[in-house]
Amino acid sequence: MGPFTSAAGFPVWLDLLIAIIIGIGFGFSLEQAGFSSSRKLAGMFYGYDTTVLKVFFTAAIVALVGSQFLSYFGLLNLNLVFVNEYYVTSAIVGGVIMGLGFIMGGFCPGTGVCAMSIGKIDALFYVLGGLTGAFLFAETYPLIRPFAEDAYRGPVKVNEVLGLSPGVFTLLLIVAAVAMFWVAEIAEKKFARPEITDKI
């Protein structure tokens, strides 16, 4: 029963080899999705290209439904899968800073690294900026630590907060995603920018 690496005590080299293989799959899917293009990614926020929404929600739902099926059939112990801890203030403020970085830079860190790999020079500058950002965070950490650790709630699950079972919440998320895909297809026609989308 999965997950394996924590239970089986894999040697370090095997653990790292698995990480590289998963990373290759990650980079390959991002690039195939077209996420090595900043103008395609930015299109999400002007309506002319909504690939970000489609790929993002499809991926989240595939992993969510897949993990629940694996758990249901006794193949995966979901209690051993990492659940992000919720620090209310830093989740919101960090997210707002990331949104600003997204619209200024045109990438998120994963897509930036992916775009750099196919030769995008703007992505190289984005990643260099990202390394600088990580450095600045480390150096300012003593100052912002009280803020970063404010309002800790633990690894809270969204369905528990809403009083729903994981299955019902997932179903509602799928319905919401389909509605968003429908709106996205309309938006792409309404805000079409053929002079941009033909080039990306």
Partner: protein
């Protein structure tokens, strides 16, 4: 590739990571470990003294040989393979024709800096917090996702010249 198909592929990669390793995908964490390694190589005393860096050097750890940095190495490799397969390998600065190359590169650098700073604060970026968080029904993942997209929509008007 069709976006729904690419999304399914990405979802299966994420599911494999959860099934095999019990963890999601992440990108900004790998950049952090690169910085930690560089700082450790340039000034070990500074790293060992700092409350932030010191935890990465306990027990003779090597921050460069870490799960998250290997993911970054893999993304570079996988992205390159995909670009080669689809004929997209090319040195290029992608931008709106309305702005100069220098402006694009400055904004790219500033955007990366802000994104990773915010990602460190939120303990994950679009992949580590938003995507992987949503896949495990983490409330933090949903809140971070809404904050990222809400903020980008809010600020989009101010930076429209860069893109359209």
């Amino acid at each position: 590739m069709n976006p729904y198909l690419a999304g399914t592929l990405l979802g299966l990669v994420l599911l494999s990571s959860m099934y095999i390793a019990g963890r999601g995908l992440g990108a900004s964490g790998g950049l952090k470990y690169c910085v930690v390694s560089i700082v450790g190589a340039v000034s070990k005393p500074h790293a060992e003294k700092s409350e932030y860096y010191s935890k990465y050097f306990e027990d003779e750890q090597k921050p460069l040989f870490n799960w998250l940095t290997m993911i970054i190495f893999g993304v570079l490799t996988g992205g390159f393979i995909s670009g080669a397969v689809s004929g997209r390998l090319k040195f290029k600065i992608e931008k709106s024709p309305n702005i100069s190359n220098v402006r694009r590169l400055i904004f790219a650098f500033a955007g990366g800096m802000l994104f990773v700073y915010g990602g460190q604060l939120a303990r994950g970026c679009t992949s580590g917090a938003a995507l992987s968080g949503m896949a495990v029904l983490s409330l933090a993942g949903f809140v971070t996702m809404m904050a990222i997209f809400g903020s980008a929509y809010f600020f989009a008007w101010f930076f429209r010249k860069n893109w359209i």
